[in-house]
């Protein structure tokens, strides 16, 4: 697997089915702290399972997490090519 595109995009704007890696967070320490508690740190790879109006369900390994629009918007990701 290699990076297909180095530019970052807020997670809230990524479409369903995409496979992405977290690059960094925008926003303050508070949201970064909460995201870390959920296991979302730079380098984490995830897929978008469903999305509705900015809120979304993401998959990391076996775990599914629901993220609100606010938090999802603070997560900056880059697209990855799917593992074959």
């Amino acid at each position: 697997m290699h990076i297909a595109d180095e530019t970052t995009l807020p997670l809230s704007l990524v479409e369903v089915g995409a496979y992405v890696r977290i690059v960094r967070f925008s926003g303050g320490m508070r949201s970064a702290h909460r995201l870390a508690e959920l296991g979302l740190i730079p380098g984490t790879e995830l897929t978008i399972i469903t999305a509705h109006g900015g809120g979304m369900v993401i998959g990391i390994g076996d775990t599914r997490l629901a993220l609100g629009r606010g938090l999802a918007h603070k997560v900056l990701v880059t697209f990855l090519e799917r593992k074959q």
Binding site: A36, E37, I60, G61, D62
Partner: protein, 177 residues
């Protein structure tokens, strides 16, 4: 007569309720989706003459109390002062699960780690070294497949050896009423 309180804590969907049912013989609803246990559940277990009260806490990612179920879990661990916290982890996703373990350790609560779903982890080719974790963290670590009953007797043996110990005020206990 010894009377101990044991709390089951861990991330959502790691098998806490499955373990709770296996220990207490209760039939609390177990579902394969996260966040199923919203209030804490209580059950009894008698091992070698010891009466244990087992508390099944809601699944949480942290003790920071961002949501009602996290607050229930945090308040019980910090204010309820269980004699031991059994922290259940998904062995196939250890890295994500250990964040909460670190937080529980920091409260000073006596703790036992249960690496659950080791059957799934092994099927994926993951090698788990419980003795390394145990040495590094300084707490007992048990591997388990609760849905198959593996590791249960080992946990029961360990619980039977627990003694009630008076403890100092725990970190964060200023929130207790």
């Amino acid at each position: 007569m010894a009377d101990l309180t044991i709390a089951l804590a861990g991330n959502p969907n790691v098998g806490k309720s499955t373990l709770f049912n296996a220990l207490t013989g209760k039939h609390q609803h177990v579902g394969n989706w996260p966040g199923k246990t919203v209030a804490k559940q209580e059950g009894k277990l008698i091992i070698e003459g010891k009466h244990l009260t087992i508390i099944d806490l809601p699944g949480t990612y942290s003790l920071s109390a961002h949501s009602p179920e996290e607050e229930i879990a945090r308040n019980f661990i910090v204010c309820g002062r269980p004699d031991a916290v059994v922290n259940v982890l998904d062995a196939a996703n250890l890295e994500r699960n250990l964040y909460l373990s670190a937080q529980i350790l920091e409260t000073g609560a006596p703790m036992i780690l249960v690496l659950n779903m080791t059957d799934v982890a092994t099927a994926r080719g993951l090698q788990i070294h419980p003795e390394v974790l145990s040495t590094r963290l300084g707490i007992p670590v048990i591997t388990m497949a609760a849905s198959r009953g593996q590791g249960l007797s080992e946990l029961k043996r360990l619980l039977a050896t627990l003694a009630r110990t008076p403890r100092e005020a725990m970190v964060g206990s200023s929130v207790c009423a």
